[in-house]
Amino acid sequence: MSLTDSIPNNVDLGSDKKLLRALEKWQPDFINWWMEMGPDGFQKDEIYLRTAISVDPKGWANYEYVKMPDYRWGIFLTPREGERDIGFGDHAGDKAWNEVPGELRSILRRIIVTQADTEPASVEQQRQLGKTAPSMYDLRNLFQVNVEEGRHLWAMVHLLHQYFGRDGREEAEALLQRRSGHPDTPRILQTFNEKTDDWMSFFMFTMFTDRDGKYQLAALSESGFDPLARATQFMLTEESFHLFTGETGVERIVQRAAELTKLDANGDARAQGGIDLGTIQKWINFWFSSAVELFGGEISSNAADYFATGLKGRFREREKYTEHKALEGAYSMVVPGEQGRLASRDVPLRNAMNEILRDEYVADCERACRKWNHAIKKTGLDVELYIPSRRFNRSMGIYAGQSFAPNGEPISKEHFESMRSKWLPTPEDREYVRSLMTAVHERGKIANWIAPPKQGVDGKPFDWEYVRFAQ
């Protein structure tokens, strides 16, 4: 582990001059991108950030005050545990690859570029949020998420530079040239072009969109291409903080919404200057349905290829499954049939890999939702939130072009349109939520629409100077 190098790393970068030169050339472009597209207005402040200083389980979390542009972005791979075998697919049992097999070059590059593109995208999406943070604690967490996305970009860029030659370098440059939501050079996946301009959206994003990232990374963390497996394993250690931010963030809004509802004589949380549970549900509906698209088509030849080539497995492939070829057997899927009725269809297992991963994801979201409902219940309110059906509000895959209610029942397009404003955020809803977004940057204080966290960061209290403003 070298932290004193120009690029902190545990890949012995110093002895690979060619790679070092390539990355040193990319580094200033990255810093330029960060200054241009990273958090707006806070680059000179000192943030109480966690930095990885070692890849062992205890040492990767080191807290100190850092100016974001000085953050030690670097390249950390989970250390190799001897020789590893490929765990699934047609090559199961072969030695894992330490170099890119030529025949898999383009498919592997596509996987890495698509994953990599999401990392800077979310930083860009969240660029303005610091200006309306509900507390100093949340402000710090936003920046923690942002710098870690930056490091995840580094992890993917390292793979592109080290293993994909000139093509890889060009792709690494292109990652700094695309811009979230830009009409000319948008990010590759549509969700990463959506606006995230209020803090409830930020929490929903880290809850739902980043959670997709967790499952994608987990599926890559057992890849037959060993450097990808090790890079994504280490990224997962950081990803959990993002998910924590989202899950507890939503929970705190939910809890506050329930409290304000109870507080108001008419049960109107908005009258108390807060966000009501109905509005929260709409945000859940929007962000969940947007995030489930990220898993890709329900029946997918790409997914089958990724599995067959041993590049992308199922969630906890080694632990949860005994049969790793997945050539036999089928996955039963609910598909839209004649006249809008739903029917069951068997899909070859490998072609259903996206859906199998989505199952894990949906179950995880439902678990979080149960926690939120528990928080509501504790206030004595008898209301429940829900995770909508995966069929609801889809524009890709087998459910696209048809209308479904949040409970998954097929409905007419007219019915959907008549309910749209009840199920999904309206411009007025967004306007209202944005109107609540005023910055609370004093230590120990918090905005009215959200509850304080149960505890602070790194054993510190909520009332702590997480950000030292430069003035």
Binding site: D184, T185, P186, A304, R350, N351
Partner: protein
């Protein structure tokens, strides 16, 4: 299953056609559930024969019905996808013959597009507004200019070799090096890179002409279309004519059009096409031709012949023998040709001549043994004589009364070249080129004796022998291996030089057909068979 090639914009499922002064726009928006056959979805603007039938119809209609159009913008109505090429599931589930016929028709359609650019003053701009792969890029290659959206992810690609173990089936490889003159080493990289080439590099390599960012794209399309329209020249063209439906009467194996009859004898595996010569007065001069419109014989008869050939190709695969007959007055055909040629500066006369030329090329490229029968009452004059010259053999009845005759017209003098650029007479007389002029210098009826002396006749049986000789020749021919005949006839038909067009058909179809039979593409473990399946292709590594 019967496929109809007769369609109309009001029935298009996959294309939107619109007009704005001299700019026409053809926007591809494929209906995923609108495939010709069951069992595949046309996702991501991928196409099958049905999509191409509409494209061919659209191009033809623009030429005849909208002569004011000087530039056609070919684009996609689907966001972020221009066209992902021929549908792989369709290819994977198709018979060999279907794949070949499909490729042939798409090739012809793209060549017709280039023909319109060359001969009708209609320039084509391909506005590639998203991912453009395989056949999608081949469509772009057929256009005069390619403008690619520069959004950091949209690329042009020919991924057939790396992805499917086949070749780009619509002349892609040939056009990349012959038409766009891309350097061969760069072309080699391009054609083995499944993800393709985007942005600036695509321009540098010559794969596209220009790029424009998303926000500027619509304006750039407008500007380039306007400048292409200017290039198309300012020839004044009259009001368009409507192409009416061909609507043949179909009765068992017989298709009856106004001037053409296609009769299928399935048990003998013989098809007979009979074309009737025009009767009545001949429209002389541009105005008269314009007034005759779609019912002008040269146009109507050749459209009918075209339709009959397509139906024969697609719907009657086992019928390997095509007998060509004509009825009526050969002199009248020649006179109709002469009137048309005299008015060839008139836009419609020109379009009709171009259409006749295209249909004749379709005949040259039809993989059937073709015999022409010149008998009493037949009308092999001029443009119909080209039918005989396109045939593999010409049987002409020797009769003492000199009633059987053929005639030449300007149609035989190079106005209707074959794919390789020669007239059928030039191609016929490679050994004795002086005979071309001799034939063209004849005036009026050429009797069997003279025709024989000029080298226009293969066999000239007399009345006593005719029936038996012809019957036996046809039966014998129908008994030979269709595969061997297809190869033999295609080799013999195109003597002489090559053009990009003839290369596309000769080289590409030969190689592609071969690859379509090989286990690496279509065997049980082949790439086309396994595309989209859970398990992957396995290749035999022998090169031969």
């Amino acid at each position: 299953m019967t496929i109809s090639f007769d369609t109309h914009p009001s029935r298009y499922k996959h294309w939107k056609i619109s007009f704005d002064g001299e700019i026409a726009t053809l926007a591809m928006q494929v209906d995923p559930n609108g495939g010709l056959k069951e069992g595949y979805e046309l996702k991501l603007n991928s196409y099958d024969l049905g999509v191409d039938i509409e494209l061919a119809d659209a191009i033809q209609r623009i030429r005849f019905e909208h002569p004011e159009a000087k530039c056609v913008v070919v684009t996609s109505g689907t966001d972020r996808v221009f066209c992902s090429g021929a549908n792989i599931y369709m290819l994977g589930s198709s018979t060999h013959a279907w794949k070949v016929n499909f490729c042939k028709f798409t090739n012809e359609t793209r060549l017709y597009l280039e023909d319109a650019s060359k001969h009708s003053g209609i320039k084509f701009l391909c506005a590639v507004n998203g991912a453009c792969a395989g056949g999608g890029y081949e469509l772009a290659l057929a256009c005069d200019e390619i403008l690619l959206v520069d959004d950091g992810s949209s690329a042009v690609s020919l991924p057939e070799v790396p992805l499917l173990a086949v070749l780009p089936g619509t002349g892609g490889l040939t056009r990349v090096v012959d038409k766009r003159k891309v350097r061969r080493d760069l072309a080699d990289v391009f054609c083995t890179t499944s993800e393709g080439v985007r942005g600036k590099r695509a321009v540098e390599w010559g794969l596209v002409d220009a790029i424009a960012p998303r926000s500027r794209f619509a304006d750039a399309v407008k500007e380039r279309a306007a400048s292409l329209a200017k290039k198309a020249g300012d020839a004044k063209k009259g009001p368009g004519i409507e192409l009416d439906a061909l609507a043949p009467e179909i009765d068992g194996g017989t298709y009856r059009y106004r001037f053409v009859t296609l009769a299928i004898d399935a048990s003998a595996r013989v098809a007979t096409v009979t074309v009737k010569a025009p009767t009545g007065s001949i429209p002389e001069g541009g105005d008269a031709i314009q007034a005759a419109g779609a019912s002008q014989w040269s146009l109507r008869a050749f459209r009918e012949l075209d339709d009959a050939l397509l139906r024969l190709r697609i719907d009657h695969l086992d019928v390997g023998m095509l007998v060509l007959r004509t009825e009526g007055d050969a002199a009248k055909v020649a006179a109709t040709d002469r009137a048309l040629h005299a008015a060839k500066d008139h836009w419609l006369a020109n379009e009709i001549l171009r259409l006749q030329a295209r249909v004749l090329r379709r005949l040259d490229l039809t993989s059937r043994s073709i015999f022409a029968l010149v008998e009493k009452g037949s009308a092999f004059g001029g443009s119909l004589l080209e039918l005989a010259l396109a045939s593999d053999r010409i049987y002409m009845l020797a009769d003492d009364d000199e009633e059987v005759a053929i005639a030449v017209s300007p149609a035989n003098a190079g106005a209707m070249p074959m794919s390789h650029g020669l007239s059928r007479l030039e191609s016929r007389f490679q050994r004795e080129p002086e005979r071309v002029q001799k034939v063209l210098a004849t005036e009026g009826a050429i009797t069997t004796e003279d025709a024989n002396a000029l080298g226009l006749v293969t066999v000239a049986p007399d009345e006593i022998d005719w029936d038996d000789d012809v019957r036996i020749a046809i039966e014998e021919r129908a008994s030979l291996s269709p595969d061997a005949l297809t190869g033999m006839e295609a080799s013999l038909r195109f003597a002489g030089p090559e053009t990009m067009e003839s290369k596309i058909f000769a080289r590409l179809t030969a190689w592609q057909n071969w690859i379509f039979q090989r286990p690496n593409a279509v065997g049980p473990q082949g790439a086309l068979t396994k595309y989209g399946q859970p398990d992957r292709a396995v290749f035999a590594w022998t090169r031969c």
